[in-house]
Symmetry: C2
Subunit: 204 residues, 2 copies
DNA sequence: TATAACATACCAACTGGTCGGTATGGTGAT
DNA sequence: ATCACCATACCGACCAGTTGGTATGTTATA
């Protein structure tokens, strides 16, 4: 990929994130995205074969940028793996800021509508969610081995559950137009994880 | 409303649930819904002013039918409020059956795309989610008063969190095309509630 | 001058919504 | 009983606007 290509393509991808997160994938028109990017259809279809390809590229772009974003977050500095896990949760709380389209998830929005209609988009979303969950699961696994090695739950399951809670929090926040309810759910998630790590067998 | 009116309108509403849950609101064409109902556009626009009005009616219909469905579920028979709360969670697990469009939530699907574009739909979704959460909160409140009256969380918050977990579970299930991951999240939710009710102060 | 990057104009297909018309059934006067 | 009158329910052809996508032309750059 040339660098020159990059800039306009990037702008289209960034525009896609904004528009799709606000309106959903189906309602997001190619022209909306072009307008948001300050470009035209000629440019759009020069860089992407069709709307679906843009969606897949947007999902991958999202996975890439959020991946770097989380990878560079300060919670990784903690020496204790459990502190990193809880730090991740706290970091997720901290980035719930501003307007809804700013903190909600492109992936959850797209997969909700397109899981049955568009396999390529669904698969890209699956890769993104599970890729991120696998990263989180690493620290969960280390923390589990250190503190509750015999607990009857596994790290990846808990990581995926965490993603589910966050996704669900966004939905409730959208219904209420309030980030407060999203934060409340993430707080419950944090407490659950604290519980899990203070009970050797994972039982109440 | 005459009974004759009812039947076709009902068929359109039922068709709307099916089509919207499978394709999302934007991608659900009026003709798709008419086809699914075995009726024509003439009938559709006789019963509903426009597509938005159908969506709002569908949300209310959903709230009504699921409301009755949960109200008549056997978990209400338990004498202990905590058993009813856990019974509700188990019931939610039990109804995760069949294909994805059969157990996922119309409300979550619609509000995800339309929260910013269509206030009437968002408000209908908010009423539905919070109305259901308020019902669940009643038993949570009773159980809390009995077992952990001093805990530092409140019933409605936990009820809304439960809805968030369930909504999030659907999203992850859609990404993976698997109801197993949805069940896993609901299982985590159950364990969290068990934890909360075995710790007087709500602390780990 | 060759090629990538973009703009402009355009099209065919589709979409929500309209409209004229029909079928059916109820009501009240004769 | 029958007929005029009217309302509701429904049909399906149609329309105007929109949409994803294409064709063609222009500009920048190497």
């Amino acid at each position: 990929m040339s660098e020159a290509t990059h800039e306009s393509k990037q702008r289209l991808l960034d525009a896609a994130l904004t528009v799709i997160r606000a309106k959903g994938y189906s309602a997001a028109r190619v022209d909306d995205i072009c307008d948001a990017a300050g470009l035209t259809k000629g440019s759009f279809f020069h860089h992407f074969k069709n709307k679906e390809e843009l969606a897949v590229a947007a999902a991958e772009y999202w996975a890439c940028t959020t991946g770097k974003f989380f990878a560079s977050a300060p919670y990784h500095d903690a020496a204790d793996p459990l502190d990193r896990v809880l730090g991740y949760i706290d970091f997720r709380s901290a980035i719930i800021q501003g307007d809804l389209p700013d903190y909600t998830c492109l992936i959850g929005t797209m997969v909700q509508e397109q899981y049955d209609s568009n396999p390529a988009i669904r698969e890209a979303c699956e890769r993104c969610i599970y890729g991120h969950a696998a990263e989180v699961a690493k620290d969960i696994d280390l923390a589990k081995a250190r503190y509750v090695p015999d607990a009857d739950w596994n790290a990846m399951d808990l990581a995926v559950h965490s993603q589910a809670v966050i996704q669900g929090a966004f939905i409730v926040a959208k219904a209420r137009l309030s980030m407060g309810v999203a934060l409340a759910s993430v707080t419950h998630l944090r407490r659950y994880i604290e519980f899990l790590f203070s009970h050797p067998k994972g039982k109440a």
